[in-house]
Point group: C2
Chain length 336, copies 2
DNA sequence: TTGAAAGCGCTAACAG
DNA sequence: CTGTTAGCGCTTTCAA
């Protein structure tokens, strides 16, 4: 089968290759009649334009690159999946790359994507990221881990966490612990701010001399477990009656810590997580969590890229609202 | 900055574009001296060849497509990540696509990848997959869900499950329940065979009149939970003392079922899962599971593709060994 | 071993 | 509105 090219179509339709090309690209200046004829021939021949040739001439590859720190993280895999769907709706495909939170690898990947001539990049910056040198001319949108000085798209972590903590407050909790993320992470700090916002309204209900109710940790399970142990290993009257964790994985680790200490959930301890990954609904008991609008974030990122309005380098980030997903790890506190 | 092309390099090096091209492609017939000179100029100019132009002439895109049913499934996301790494080591990039277990979408995606001129496709076929019409000439390797009549690469599910069940047997279990996967799934059936293999050696220790110890289910959490309820909702003497689940998610669902029925794990019920996803080590108690060699599978798939030896259409599948990962959900059975 | 030159399949001026 | 034509940046004969 001698591969069918644009000239075959042109010949059979009795038009020039130029016209076929214009039909292909939905150029307005083609008679409806011709357009129809060409379309049917294309159909008949099963012709598909060669993307390389196209990209070479037009500087458009219909390819979007997405770089994330770790695909094993359910949050990111859902992000990628959502981006893939959004892109597919526009005839775009996705090249995925993993940076493993390694700035050098990340820079390399950006270079690869640039030379591949992708039409845009969705980037979740690595944590040890410092000087981002964005290849200019290439639209790039920062997602989730917003960088100070760059605009981007993310969930509104601050108000989301606030929402979750307020939920606990409404249930009657006052001594509410917080497991934060790594302190050099922008989203982690936003989440911390959300916690502080909420706590300011109610006071934290503990003596000034009492140990702090905030534990810093990485976002993973083990760190959450350690942080949970730290927060819970104290006398009952100064132990938090509820804990808000900055990630679902942390929350689940914290559940483990509580379990090992013989603290029943939610009877003696309420726990709320953050992220809303599938995992959250597979724990026993099911985790109450603040759900990030992952699909919306991905769709917005793709939309920005396709609209060619390369994200204004210093504009305001687009923040999307979270919502609470109630599970079985929250209840009113027991009287002391 | 006027983009640097191959002629710039050629000019500066005082050679022809042909020579530069040959250096780029490691063509043997270039003097070491020239090769060195050209290389240094390339370095100096920071020249990177245009993949589109390259691909157009040479029919090589350095792109690999990977189609999976669902990126949200941790098994697949790890597979994709591993493939990405393996590909990157060879200068290849990955285009991901999700089929959502939808045969039509899958066919469409295969078409897209074909017209993108990817150098190969890694395919985890959708479940409602029937007639796969593989575009010939395009290397494609079937992974995980092997298709009868096609060769491919997968974990050795059968012997893996056998391993897990034998582990239970060694602990002293005889009444071992099994949660199978959907019956039209090849891997699910392989896993079932592994269970039967192992049980044949020991007998299943139940009266012939007793209800069967096998429950069919989808691979997800909720299905595992239902199946667990089914297997456990019976009198103690005919209830299994151990359950092997065909997936970790099922196993976790089953843990939930046991919990709700007040059956302590592992004291009154041992559970073993299958897959070895990160999730398995985040449950309380930690899940004992049979781990698939995901990285090896991905690496092998990429290797097959790059070696251009398009997987022999009817050859024998390559089966990679699983290993057991011991958690806290298994122990010897309590005496009745 | 190297250079010269002919395209790969398509798009985008430029005419008409 | 449509046809003609000149390349896009590279690889690859074909000669030298």
């Amino acid at each position: 089968m001698p591969k069918v090219g644009i000239r075959d179509v042109a010949k059979l339709a009795g038009v020039s290759t130029g016209t076929v090309s214009r039909v292909l690209n939905d150029h307005p200046s083609v008679t409806d009649e011709l357009r129809a004829r060409v379309r049917s021939i294309i159909e008949e021949l099963g012709y598909t334009p060669d993307p390389s040739a196209r990209s070479m001439r037009s500087k458009v590859s219909r390819l979007i690159g997405i770089i994330i720190p770790d695909l094993t993280n359910p949050f990111f895999s859902e992000l990628v999946q959502s981006a893939e769907q959004a892109a597919a709706r526009h005839g775009y495909n996705i090249i995925v790359m993993t940076s493993f939170d390694h700035a050098a690898k990340e820079a390399d990947r950006i270079g690869q994507l640039t030379s591949r001539k992708v039409d845009g990049i969705i980037l979740v910056p690595s944590n040890d990221f410092h000087a981002l040198k964005l290849p200019k001319g290439l639209p790039i949108v920062i997602v989730d881990r917003l960088l100070p000085g760059y605009s981007g798209i993310a969930a509104d972590h601050r108000s989301g966490v606030c929402l979750g903590v307020e939920h606990l407050v409404k249930l009657g909790h006052r001594r509410i612990g917080f497991i934060s993320g790594p302190k050099d992470s922008v989203p982690a700090n936003d989440r911390l701010k959300g916690y502080l916002d909420a706590m300011e309204l109610v006071g934290d209900g503990r003596q000034n001399s009492a140990p702090p109710l905030i534990a810093e940790a990485a976002f993973d399970y083990e760190s959450g477990r350690s942080a949970g142990n730290y927060l819970l290993a104290r006398a009952r009257h100064e132990r938090p009656t509820a804990i808000f964790a900055s990630s679902d994985q942390q929350a689940i680790g914290c559940m483990r810590a509580a379990h090992d200490l013989g603290i029943p959930i939610p009877a003696a301890l309420s726990i709320v997580g953050f992220d809303g990954i599938p995992l959250a609904s597979m724990t026993t008991p099911r985790l109450t969590t603040v759900k990030q609008p992952i699909q919306e974030i991905a769709a917005a990122a793709v939309a920005v890229l396709l609209s060619k309005q390369d994200a204004p380098a210093l504009g305001k980030p687009l923040l999307l609202a979270c919502e609470i997903s109630e599970g079985e790890t929250t209840s009113s506190p027991q009287p002391d």
